[in-house]
């Protein structure tokens, strides 16, 4: 694997590893690791370092909704224009152009069902190119960003195995 890719894979799994630890893991100088990371940051390949939090477990309720959005394209407004307009709302968590029955999958985050419903009614449905929307409220999340949000297997191995 190319070193930059290897560093990205490692950071994708655990962004808190130090450059020294990464350098030990892949066998190149720490200075080189630092260079590669700062280049990747500058090129905006590394966009952000975040923490994946189980808010529900912490006791904070957050409401997510997935909205299927169908749009009418015009000469003036293509997918990119409409997507950018939707994406800029801070309530919008993710926007994806998808294949199938509708055009955009929009994930919206809010404090309550009401807040999200009003946001969609006022801000998304009223965009002239939006034909219609279907809203799915998220009831429970089982897996997020490749991480299971429920208790799973523990290490059951014996302490010493030949």
């Amino acid at each position: 694997m190319e070193k930059a890719e290897e560093i990205l894979r490692i950071l994708e799994g655990n962004a808190r590893l130090s450059t020294k630890e990464i350098s030990d893991m892949i066998g190149i100088d720490e200075e080189k690791v630092k260079d590669v990371i700062s280049r990747l940051e500058k090129e905006q390949i590394i966009l952000k370092y975040k923490t994946l939090i189980n808010w529900e477990k912490f006791g904070v309720e957050e409401v997510y909704a997935i909205i299927d959005v169908r749009v009418n394209l015009t000469r003036e407004k293509g997918y990119d224009d409409i997507a950018k307009r939707i994406a800029k709302f801070p309530e919008v968590h993710a926007v994806r152009l998808v294949s199938g029955d509708y055009d955009f999958q929009v994930v919206v985050k809010g404090k309550s069902l009401k807040e999200i419903s009003f946001f969609i009614a006022e801000k998304i449905s009223t965009i002239p190119e939006v034909r219609d929307t279907v809203t799915h409220f998220v009831l429970r999340t089982y897996k997020e960003e490749g991480v299971l949000l429920f208790e799973d297997e523990e290490d059951r191995r014996l302490a010493i195995v030949p």
């Binding site: 694997m1 290897e6 894979r9 490692i10 655990n14 590893l17 630890e21 030990d24 893991m25 892949i26 066998g27 297997e153 290490d155 191995r157 014996l158 302490a159 010493i160 195995v161 030949p162």
Partner: protein, 386 residues
């Protein structure tokens, strides 16, 4: 109700078994039991669970009620998949020569019993996996060990010095040293094997966990195709340890003998495990590659750090490092015991793998990166405090 036990029956126990040395690991295992929060680098099995797609396939087979015996040979689809798979290591295998076993341990046992007559010589390079010597003795072999310290490489001269022998056992990448062999090095070993006219039992269970060069089966070398029994399985590459499924690839006559013993003592490998193994070979490549990459990172990390206090060779494969701890002035057992009592970190004394492991410890890096970091810090602290 009658209660079993209480009478002295040791005079009724088989003499050969009675004389076998107890496993060097056993005593150490007892020391750990009851201690809490031990970080163990003593575990010779993957810390990954069996990839879900394999588990799911096995669950589905149970739902459909597939729970009966299979053919003694194993499921035809699995034998075919194994034969195809082994071309990867340079050998052209006919599925007629593939026997599905209950792990490499059974494969080793029946291979040895198929080949050895009482008193015939079995050559085992040490340090070696703990079951080779006892199983060879039980098969009636006269065991000759070859010490390979300090670089733990078996060489032409070491083998020819022994003279004629019926069997040579090799295991690469090696448990406990992590040493493996390039094609060129294997050619040297093969020349020696032909010279002493031996059959090789080649335990290649760690083949997929090779980091420095591609694994080559010794059976692929000139003149070795009819002198080699290949043993391999799914325990290490697909983390299927407790499912007990492996295979032997052997030349016709030895194959027939092995099959005879296998059909009487084992009947067949567990059917659920065989079904999982088929899925592993058909669709397990991505998961395998992910695990391999992770082991490699851990190896690099561990070796880099542990070199601060010990001399150690960089392992070519498997998930073991075998550092020399002689600079501490302690014996392997003493070191392992003190490290456990003072730092709650478990390693295995090198002597568990033969006399020439004296002065070494085996550290398995099949633990999560976080635990590995913590354990490494603790070992380094411990040595620096001496």
């Amino acid at each position: 109700m009658k209660r079993i036990g209480g009478s002295q029956l040791s005079h009724r126990v088989n003499k050969k078994v009675k004389e076998l040395k107890p496993s060097g690991i056993r005593r150490f295992f007892d020391l750990i039991i009851g201690r809490e929060d031990v970080i163990s680098l003593g575990v010779g099995e993957p810390d990954f669970a069996v990839p879900w797609r394999i588990r799911e396939e096995m669950i589905y087979s149970l739902e459909r009620g597939i729970t009966s015996y299979t053919s003694n040979l194993g499921l035809p689809e699995l034998r075919e998949a194994v034969a195809d798979y082994y071309t990867k290591f340079g050998v052209d295998v006919d599925q007629g020569n593939v026997l599905i076993t209950t792990g490499v341990s059974e494969g080793f046992d029946i291979a040895m019993r198929s080949i050895i007559n009482p008193g015939e010589r079995v050559v085992i390079p040490e340090p070696a996996y703990v079951s080779y010597v006892p199983l060879s003795i039980l098969a009636g072999g006269d065991v000759i060990t070859i010490p390979t310290s300090p670089d733990f490489k078996l060489r032409y001269e070491d083998i020819v010095k022994v003279g004629e022998a019926k069997v040579l056992v090799i295991n690469y990448p090696n448990n406990p040293t992590g040493v493996s062999y390039t094609k060129k090095e294997l050619e040297e070993i093969a020349d020696a094997v032909i010279e002493i006219d031996a059959i090789v039992i080649s335990d290649e269970i760690y083949a997929e966990l090779s980091y420095n060069f591609k694994h080559v089966s010794i059976a692929s070398l000139n003149g070795m195709e009819d002198r080699t029994v290949i043993l391999n399985g799914f325990s290490k590459s697909f983390a299927m340890t407790g499912l007990r499924v492996g295979y032997a690839i052997a030349p016709d006559d030895i194959f027939e003998s092995m099959l005879k013993i296998h059909q009487y003592c084992m009947l067949c490998a567990p059917v659920t495990a065989q079904i999982g193994a088929i899925e592993a070979l058909r669709n397990g490549d991505d998961e395998l590659e992910e695990m391999r990459a992770e082991y490699l990172r851990r190896r690099n990390f561990f070796i880099k750090r542990i070199k601060e206090v010990f001399e150690v060779n960089t392992p070519d494969g498997a998930f073991y490092a075998f550092p020399c701890i002689e600079n501490t002035g302690m014996s392997s057992e003493e070191f392992a015991e003190k490290l456990l009592f003072e730092k709650n970190v478990a390693v295995v004394p090198g002597t568990a793998f033969g006399e020439c492991g004296r002065g070494y410890i085996r550290c398995a890096y099949a633990v999560s990166m976080d635990k590995l970091k913590e354990a490494t810090d603790k070992i380094i602290d411990f040595v620096n405090s001496l």
